[in-house]
């Protein structure tokens, strides 16, 4: 059977999977945002001002719209309203955040255009498809390979050996990329999004185009059971009927999915393991009751979502929690504080895998909710079960530097390293 995973240690690719380096390379701060965000949330559920201004820090990355008004939303109800009212809160912020990198994608589309485009990939990311096609064809083998590499060693660095390689391998291979193209493709995305320096963007774009266009052309001639073939076969509903997707549209779709699928699951899986190792009694509870695996993932994403903030554009005057938001302003949806709203959760700062089921916003919500969320949960579920089955007596490595969560203050947070021992 052909290998489906990359070996990041052998390839010396730590710089691609360090949340801290990733944030610093584009000038973002890396401090823990929670103390300041929770203090702001305690003051009022909705406040005028950009989130970085309220926090007293410079704009983070591209999350700044000078010349426009700005509001920050902190409570569960406020964030929920913004996510669920897509007519008043649109995706225009992504024109600045991502369009330069990947052109028009689902993330910066609204209304019918978004619905029609999302419908193409939606069947391939539904829970039933994640539990069958993704799981049986890719995830189980990938997890088996990765744990097979470490299980006899007695120690490992799980960020680089499990959390990072699993999602980037699964999404890339399932797309139909040959395994030898997984890292070049990841490097290209790293460069396109500015993490390798401004002089590398064009180079990244060229590599990205070369890799994907080659595969799209091959699948147009000879479809296979992979995601490029499925998306390339998709048809877009238009006012005049249906039409096939152009190569450019397929390319942008693939770019977005690989970009999104490789990063968030990696960091969130690390956060989940980090939380469990710091709460060994809950880890033991999970070991003895596997029905808690899904609730554990749900709780990890509530307690510490890798992206603490989402953005929306206020398209029309709207009242939220009694505050009038003026049209043509940016809205910062603070998922981190909404997920710890004391009106919704008891002891919200505590990681507790036995909490009653209650929705939260780690994957967004509403019509723009993360398309890949079920795939992400499935990967984490299979990996967590393997962690419990194949790494007995798992614990922090007492001789290694203690693990810590880093990354951008407002995006892309996760553990730098997870040095563990087992057996």
């Amino acid at each position: 059977m052909n290998k489906v995973t990359v070996d990041l240690l052998r390839e010396h690719r730590r710089e691609l999977f360090s949340p801290e380096q990733e944030a610093r390379s584009i000038g973002m701060e890396t401090d823990d945002p929670y103390p300041r965000l929770l203090a702001l949330a305690a003051r009022a559920p909705v406040q005028a001002g950009a989130l970085h201004e309220l926090m007293g820090i410079p704009p983070q990355g591209r999350m700044d719209w000078p010349g426009h008004g700005a509001y920050s939303l902190f409570s569960f109800n406020a964030v929920n309203q913004a996510f669920m009212d897509s007519a008043s809160f649109t995706q225009r912020t992504y024109d600045k955040l991502l369009k330069d990198h990947f052109g028009d994608t689902l993330l910066n589309m609204d209304g019918d255009e978004h619905r029609r485009m999302r419908n193409i990939a939606k069947p391939h990311f539904k829970p039933s498809f994640a539990e069958s096609w993704w799981n049986d064809k890719w995830i189980v083998q990938a997890v088996d390979e990765l744990f097979g590499r470490i299980e006899k060693a007695g120690r490992a660095e799980l960020n680089m050996e499990i959390c990072a390689p699993l999602p980037v391998s699964v999404i890339s291979i399932a797309f139909g990329l040959p395994v030898e193209e997984v890292l070049p493709f990841r490097l290209a995305i790293h460069a396109i999004t500015g993490h390798a320096g401004p002089d590398k963007v064009a180079e990244g774009q060229a590599a990205f185009d070369r890799i994907l266009r080659t595969q799209i052309a091959l699948r147009r001639k000879e479809p296979r059971d992979d995601l490029i073939s499925r998306i390339a076969a998709g048809t877009l509903q238009t006012g005049e009927g249906e039409r096939p997707l152009s190569d450019d549209e397929v390319l942008r779709y693939c770019a977005l999915i690989v970009f999104a699928g490789g990063g968030t699951t990696w960091r969130q899986m690390g956060i989940t393991i980090f939380a469990l190792l710091n709460n060994p009694e809950q880890f033991e509870e999970l070991r003895s009751d596997r029905s808690l695996v899904r609730p554990t993932i749900h709780e990890s994403t509530r307690w510490y979502p890798t992206d603490p903030v989402f953005t929306r554009w206020v398209a029309k005057d709207t009242a939220v929690e009694g505050v009038e938001l003026k049209a043509d302003s940016a809205a910062y949806l603070c998922v981190a504080t909404a997920n710890r709203d004391p009106l919704v959760w008891e002891q919200p700062d505590v990681f507790d895998i036995r909490r009653p089921m209650q929705r939260h916003f780690a994957f967004g919500a509403g019509i723009h909710a993360c398309l890949g969320q079920h795939l992400s949960r499935q990967e984490m579920e299979v990996a967590l079960n393997a962690l419990l089955d194949r790494l007995p007596n798992l614990r922090w490595d007492p001789e290694a530097e203690p693990s810590r969560i880093s990354g951008g203050t407002l995006m892309g947070r996760g553990p730098e390293t997870l040095h563990v021992r087992f057996g």
């Binding site: 990311f125 829970p127 089921m357 909710a369 969320q373």
Partner: protein, 59 residues
């Protein structure tokens, strides 16, 4: 309708926690208020996370 009957009729998405309330329906998904969960079309899915109907449990 009593509160307890309302409670019995609600269904929760086991992936995201969204609660389907028959008294509200799902207007954005074309489901009018007053539609019981059992009467939702087979292809209806969670308005928050796209989960299928069979991922809902009565709570």
């Amino acid at each position: 309708m009593s509160g307890s009957t309302h409670e019995a009729a609600r269904c929760t998405c086991m992936n995201c926690g969204y609660v389907y309330r028959p008294e509200y329906g799902d207007p954005e998904g074309g489901i009018p208020p007053g539609t019981p969960f059992e009467a939702l079309p087979a292809d209806w899915c969670c308005p928050v996370c796209d989960s299928d109907k069979d991922h809902f449990e009565q709570k």
